[in-house]
Amino acid sequence: MLGYIGKRLLQSVVTLFVIISIVFLLLRLLPEEGYLGAAADKMSPEQQEVYLTNLGLRDPILVQLGNFYADLIHGDFGKSITYRTDVPVLDIIADKILYSLAFGLAAVAFSILVGVPLGILMAQMKGRWLDRLGTGYIVFVVAVPSMVYYLLIQVYITDIFKLPMLFDEDKPITWLLPLISLSLGPIASYAMWMRRYMVDELNKDYIKLARAKGVKERTLMFSHVMRNAFIPLAQYLPATILFTITGSIYIESLYSIPGMGGLLVDAIQRQDNAVVQGLVLIFSSLGIIGLFLGDIAMALVDPRIKLGRGESVR
């Protein structure tokens, strides 16, 4: 087990390194105005040239990459250009990351708490009205782009219940709507998979045997069917984490929550290359950590998974 974790960890670190390098090189393809900021108009072309040289943007690309890593190891992500001029990117992000983490984790927990029981109920009432209703919900949420129903929820639910439209840290009620919106997608996928695995499991021979032996329906559900259906579910955990990252980009800027997702939208719109780069690095690292944890969870939960399949693919 430890060997597997070690190998998987090593793989994640290598991947992280490769991705950071690719992202860095790609961002160098962006127009250079993004580095000049608000002062661009006041500078003559020669001044701009000097400015860019001082920033190190005229060095050979590999030297730039080396410097970038040297800075990164010292925890220096560069300085913001237009978003909050000359404030270190890391400080800006540090202010925001707690909001994003709080919303993301709450959404993951909430969607498991609602989605898994919903899937179980749907499987038990297969073909009845609850199942149909749930299926309708899943189809809607999966097919319609999330932006559309996020917007409609924000417009109409706030109207109907007379809620404030924007996030306010001191009013707990304003936490609710963004959280629910963010959870709608993951709830649908948890319910869908849970239902599918439960139905699959219920049709297996050992369940028929247990029924024939007279095992109580309740025992059957809880100690046989659900236990086995949980196993494949573990692998969707990282996908949920990745999803909440994406979802937070919408939700945070819609409700003006001061988190990283909203920051990314702002930084892109203001062409602040340094902030964009820092955020992209953090988002990709979160993705890698999510997948790493998901793999470990899978290995822990299912003893049948062959360890040391470092190079294979799920």
Binding site: A143, V144, P145, V148, L151, I249, V280
Partner: protein, 324 residues
């Protein structure tokens, strides 16, 4: 003794080179030899039309596509990009609610929303279909090579392990940031991220199928690899491929909405469902103007849900297990 060698000589005479050539399979002859008049596609179609909802939605989507294509040449249609002026005041006809003149009203600078919505649907469907096609073609090709060729397996797996770790959204943002917004760059950005899932899916299925007995038999008989992949493996995957493809269209449309929202989408001069919804979002604070958000949202939801349901029921119908 002499008799035997006589016999052997006769065998050599009787045999000819022709016997050692690979037979070409002829579907018609194959059909003749058996009694069944089973046809895969006919059977698929038969089980598909049993699902009335899906058939209705299929007709609806065909109707929408047809309408969207001929809408510009119909009489009494306005231009989607022209700014209209109010006859009485001479100012721009801003934010006019739906009426007989402007069927879906006008937007905040006086453009006709009815025309814009259909032009936008045209753009979004174009993006969706192109992205879905590229995704399927590239995904299947790479997935098939990845699953079938043992030499390519390790390098592609390593590349995949890196790619899969980057959130798709981030790639989408990066690519659109680097390539300036236009229809073709949006398509490129989505294609770069789209094929990966498809390839992995095809690969996993092929790994399961490639060593089944019928493929082993095929290989021993000397069937070339490309024929095994095309004729033995891919037909098995038709239902899954159709499902992924019909899902790719709603996802591409959704991605376009997302890119527009964060400011990397198409310019307003090129209407798409994404920037129509975004225009509506800006105005949603005033209840009277919410029609500008509702109309494009409804059109978009109808299209994406239809594709999703059609895809799912077609995949069910195409699955040979459901043919009797």
């Amino acid at each position: 003794m002499g008799l035997y060698s006589e016999e052997i000589r006769n065998i050599t005479d009787k045999s000819s080179e022709q016997l050692f050539e690979f037979a070409v399979s002829d579907e018609n002859k194959a059909e003749q030899s058996g009694y069944s008049n089973y046809s895969y596609w006919r059977s698929t179609w038969k089980s598909f039309i049993k699902n009335k909802v899906a058939v209705f939605l299929l007709l609806l989507v065909i109707g929408i596509v047809f309408f969207v294509l001929i809408q510009p040449i119909l009489p009494n249609q306005k231009s989607p990009t022209e700014i209209y002026l109010d006859d009485q005041t001479g100012y721009q006809a801003r934010n006019i609610e739906p009426n007989g003149e402007y069927w879906f009203g006008t937007n905040s600078i006086g453009q006709d929303l009815w025309a814009r919505i259909w032009a936008g649907t045209r753009t979004s469907l174009l993006i969706g279909v192109v992205v879905a096609l590229v995704e399927v073609i590239v995904g299947i090709t790479i997935g098939a090579l990845w699953g079938y060729s043992r030499k390519l397996e390790t390098p592609i797996s390593h590349a995949y392990n890196v790619i899969e770790n980057i959130p798709t959204t981030i790639v989408l943002i990066l690519m659109s940031l680097i390539l300036r917004p236009s229809i073709s760059t949006i398509i490129i950005a989505m294609c770069i991220t789209g094929w990966v899932e498809m390839a992995r899916f095809i690969r996993n299925q092929i790994v399961i199928l490639r060593d089944r007995e019928y493929n082993l038999a095929s290989r021993t008989l000397g069937t070339p690899s490309h024929r095994i992949i095309l004729k033995n493996l891919l037909p098995y995957l038709i239902s899954i491929i159709m499902l992924r493809m019909s899902l790719a269209i709603p996802f591409a449309i959704g991605a376009e909405v997302f890119l527009t929202y964060i400011g990397l989408g198409l310019p307003i001069s090129e209407p798409s469902l994404g920037n129509l919804i975004n225009e509506g979002r800006v105005l949603m604070m005033s209840p009277d103007l919410r029609y500008q958000l509702i109309f494009p949202s409804v059109v978009l939801s109808v299209i994406t849900i239809s594709f999703y349901i059609i895809g799912n029921s077609f995949a069910d119908a195409a699955d040979p297990k459901n043919h009797v």
